[in-house]
């Protein structure tokens, strides 16, 4: 674990921060978006904004899988668990997320629904093996990083003949979401064109998909993208590399995270995913709306292990509260504290919109780690 400390060294950080200060052009602003919740967390947790000059601004992107899950899909599975008496296995960070009726998995558990927190999908397989007479549903969620383990679990279930196991697939894809955001920044008809000068690309996701799938960011949208690890020094380094590209008028895909990411990614993981999953024509992202080809579904060959095919899971369409400014926050049009209900009506205990849901969401991260920077009468400890 000494390894981790190297990436958190305060002196190295000060050195990088000094170089960023030297290299920024004071005449212009730099608006950089970090896509991933992991980066958002590192930025807020280590106070990286304090190390940056005031004309460098970070926009927290939509890369938090829990935040972008439509509440209707959560509601649907809670109702399923209640109706069919399934054992519902979920990762910890989903448990407190309110569904469409304000109901959470923790509340459902308190009512007697058999909800189990698991650390990995293999825990869910173990539960299925231990309860052969009961249907066991794994709440599969996440970007490209958590997809391969879900695929492996389904392959195992098939090989073992584990017929009481199924996965409720909510796996989503990074590049289409990035494209959706860039498209709104790009179009001429956008009412107020928003400044977005570059992106910090995902860490763990890129270890799977590689750096090649981001090429469109440079070729079609002419923005630089730097793939970076989740350690705070990685983030600072990526910011420096982005500033250099912007200053030089370049738009390239750069890889700061070479210790883990290759251009082509993890081919083996990709082929396992392709074996089990296929593209969903369209998927609703909370805060971003319906995005074509932006999510995965389980192939018909594995229908038996697909919760949505085994059971009827009617998903109610839901809309976020009308005061919610998530769509603007996710695109960098508004900062969290500029939302009228931030920290007053909308808090992590009672989130109104998606960005307040998990600690990696833009509004929740600002709430937990940064709201002292923007104190207002309604905002206190």
């Amino acid at each position: 674990m000494k390894y981790i400390d190297e990436f958190r060294d305060g002196r190295l950080a000060q050195g990088l921060a000094a170089r960023i200060r030297q290299e920024v052009n004071p005449e212009r602003g730099y608006a950089l978006m970090e896509f991933c919740g992991g980066h958002t967390h590192a930025i807020c947790r280590y106070g990286i904004e304090d190390l940056l000059p005031s004309n460098v601004r970070l926009i927290h992107g939509p890369g938090c899988p829990v935040c972008v899950l439509p509440s209707g899909r959560l509601q649907a599975v809670i109702e399923l668990a209640e109706r069919e008496r399934v054992i519902l296995c979920s990762y910890g960070d989903l448990l407190r997320v309110p569904g469409a009726q304000g109901d959470t998995l923790l509340q459902a558990k308190a009512r007697g629904v058999d909800v189990r927190m698991v650390y990995s999908v293999s825990d869910a397989l173990d539960i299925a093996r231990a309860h052969p007479d009961q249907p066991v549903v794994f709440f599969a969620i996440g970007f490209e990083t958590t997809t391969p383990p879900t695929a492996v679990a389904i392959l195992h279930a098939k090989a073992e003949g584990l017929h009481n196991f199924s996965a409720y697939c909510n796996h989503v894809l990074t590049p289409p979401a990035l494209r959706a955001i860039l498209a709104t920044h790009h179009t001429a008809e956008s009412p107020a064109p928003i400044q977005l000068d570059g992106c910090i690309g995902p860490a763990h996701v890129s270890t799977i998909i590689g750096s090649d799938p981001y090429q469109f960011v440079a070729t079609e949208y002419h923005r630089p993208l730097v793939i970076a690890g989740f350690e705070p020094l990685d983030v600072l380094q990526a910011i420096l590399l982005l500033i250099r590209q912007v200053n030089a008028g370049e738009a390239r895909i750069e890889n700061e995270y070479t210790r883990a990411v290759s251009p082509e990614g993890n081919r083996k993981a990709q082929s396992i995913v392709a074996e089990v999953f296929t593209l969903r024509p369209s998927f609703e992202w909370r805060g971003l709306g319906e995005l074509p080809n932006s999510a995965l579904t389980i192939r018909p060959e594995y229908a038996e292990w697909d919760t949505e095919r085994r059971f009827i899971v009617p998903v109610v369409a839901t809309t976020d509260h009308k005061a919610c400014a998530c769509a603007e926050v996710l695109r960098g049009v508004k900062r969290p504290e500029q939302c009228k209900v931030f920290a007053t009506v909308c808090t992590p205990d009672h989130p109104l919109g998606s960005c307040m849901v998990s600690a990696e969401g833009a509004c929740a991260a600002h709430y937990h780690y940064g709201r002292f920077r923007t104190p207002s009468p309604g905002v206190s400890a």
Binding site: R8, G10, L51, D93, T146, G370, R371, F372, V379, S380
Partner: protein, 349 residues
């Protein structure tokens, strides 16, 4: 010891036996359980009277009383078990007023079917903890609930103690300019229990820090009777304890992350699970808030005590209308140390 009255024809079976509903029924079975388990382990002059209450004289001073219910899963973990935890927890609550703890009461809710061997192990651990601390368990109670209506055993302990004259410690007394001291590393108890519960194994297991802190407190109060606040950051961890004090005292706080000790295995497991050690439970640590001029002598006596060797000054109290607890990170940035919303839950990726 209790004079043998030959009430019970057969001794309790501590190898294969388990708790039965009759053990809480008020009859002979209950009397036998009390005598063979509790009285034998806790044995002292107050219990020997076999009254429903304990009578004792108290020294002059302000009386302190605290109570704490203990539910922990698993019941046994590296470094301790629910038994010693229930003794340490209440002793510490009393000690955090600067008091000398004097007596404890213990109340058990047992689940039908709970193995007597485990019960004995827990009770022995309590007896040892109470003896080591010099705080006898002088009265108690036992109830048995039907199988499925409890989680093995729940223990509630209540303690009384006396505050020495001139000492006035309260969470509402933190003042701008005060120093914040922490007696040692964070998160050992919470992560020991979590590692055990989730079956996460490591080369060197994380060991709970459960300990009675009244000895440490006595040395601290002796050198710095003007101490303003003491708090043991148990559930909710340091982050919650500091926010509570900030709110009760109407102040803000500024911490230095680099000064806060966290042992490497705890840090690694927290990292792995996406948890923040600032919010993980401790059972043998305290934080102290005192006028700045007392900080150095206080730190010296803390470090000289076996339970405070890693003590550190971790920050200071400031004027802040919003009551924020802010921290300068190891990275040189700043972050808020917020109230916890609900229990900390592990993150996905």
């Amino acid at each position: 010891m209790i004079p043998s009255r030959k009430l019970f024809t057969r001794k309790l079976d501590f190898i294969h036996g388990s708790v039965e509903l009759s053990h809480g029924g008020g009859g002979r079975a209950m009397a036998q359980l009390i005598e063979e388990v509790f009285l034998t382990a806790f044995d002292n002059e107050w219990l020997r009277t076999q009254d429903d209450c304990a009578q004792f004289n108290v020294p002059a001073g302000r009386l302190v009383m605290a109570t704490d219910s203990h539910v922990v899963s698993p019941l046994f973990f590296p470094g301790g078990d629910i038994g010693c935890l229930s003794v340490h927890g209440t002793i510490n609550d009393v000690a955090m007023a600067g008091a000398q703890p004097l007596y404890l009461a213990a109340s058990f809710i047992l689940e039908e079917g709970f193995p007597l061997a485990d019960l004995q192990r827990i009770v022995d651990s309590m007896a040892q903890a109470a003896r080591q601390a010099g705080v006898p368990i002088v009265t108690g109670d036992t109830k048995v609930v039907e199988r499925g209506k409890g989680d093995g055993v729940f223990i509630t302990t209540t303690g009384v103690g006396v505050v020495p004259p001139g000492v006035n410690i309260s969470a509402s007394r933190a003042q701008p300019g005060d120093a914040i001291l922490l007696s040692g590393s964070l998160g050992d108890h919470g992560m020991a229990v979590m590692a055990q519960r989730e079956n996460l194994s490591f080369d060197a297991p994380i060991v709970s820090d459960t300990a009675a802190l009244h000895g440490l407190v006595a040395t601290m109060v002796a050198v710095a009777p003007e101490l303003h606040c003491l708090r043991d950051p148990t559930r909710g961890g340091l982050g919650s304890a500091l926010n509570e004090i900030a709110q009760q005292s109407g102040v803000g706080m500024r911490l230095h992350e680099a000064a806060i000790p966290v042992h490497e295995p705890v840090r690694a497991l927290c990292e792995f699970l996406g948890l923040d050690p600032l919010y993980v439970a401790n059972e043998g640590k305290l934080l102290a808030i005192c006028p700045a001029e007392c900080a150095d002598p206080l730190l010296a006596v803390m470090r000289a005590h076996s339970l405070g060797q890693e003590a550190a000054i971790i920050g200071s109290v400031v004027t802040d209308a919003h009551g924020f607890v802010e921290m300068e990170t190891v990275f040189g940035g700043r972050r808020l140390v917020d109230w916890l919303s609900g229990e900390q839950l592990p993150r996905i990726c």
